[in-house]
Amino acid sequence: MTQTQHDRAPGDRPVLADSEDGTSSGVLVYTIGLVLAVILTATSFWAANTSLLWGPGIPLGLAVLAIAQMGVHLVFFLHITTGPDNTNNVLALAFGLLVVIVVVAGSLWIMDNLNNMTPPSEQMNMQMQH
């Protein structure tokens, strides 16, 4: 009971009441994670190479599969949960993801805008010659 007063360390498995059973249930958790990850990875490779799906939608589908697999790794390999003893870990992760999204989406957005607003290079050369 005294364990619950602090947050759990990231990567720690939940404390089980029956410690004797800990290893076998741990193996089960990792195995489920591996199977799910293999299925998602195989689907990604299939989707990238198939001609059955609508082409322009495939990158979005690949991104969704990657997000799902990231979730599988976080839950089954890193043991991140939504429990009250994991608040600090989840908050740090959420902040990290916020920064990642701002950096990636912001860069793409700004550079796309710049590309659209920059005149073509021939025009630039002419302007420079004047």
């Binding site: 009971m1 005294t2 602090h6 990231p10 990657a66 870990n89 860069s107």
Partner: protein, 210 residues
Amino acid sequence: MNVAVAIETLQPESLPSASEAGPASKRVVVAYGFWIFLLSDIVMFSALFAAYAVLVRSTAGGPTGADLFNQASVAIQTACLLVSSFTCGMMSLAVDSRRRGATYAFAVLTFVLGAAFLAFELRDFSGMIASGATPQHSAFLSAYFTLVGCHGLHVTVGLVWLAVMMAQVAIMGFRATVERRLRCFALFWHALDIVWIWLFTVVFLMGVRP
């Protein structure tokens, strides 16, 4: 509400609030600090990903990703890293239950799979460089080698770390400091696999599509 009152009246000192409980154990503090480092490392990777996504079309008339990437090799690398993540988890379980033989066995498996990943990646790199697709050829290739090479560098550091940890287990046994370091290594190795998910999705699978 009744339950909460009952717990408070029955055992007032066994469940102190977080502010009264004093500092967390070193095991929690160390792992949390390493978790913060990993997130900052992932933020650094996000900058490299952003650079790659911006520069992916800037091939300067040179080869594109579709010309260069070998999907079979990428699939093998993905399998190696994913299974090594699993064996790393098995190693964590062996450490938890203090089984020395199993710890060594799974550490060796993790090391071999990580080294195989690295061997395939280096083979791809040397093949690309031999065909003239060097990092200085185009902005796309600079971004590609920086992003994928940085992940490969992390895997290399992870392999060295794993070897050092096995030496520490052999010499010092499962004492508290060694166990904390093994825990951090497991976090590091799983985080590298998460970065690789985005690498094979964004760089290789999206890259081979016309």
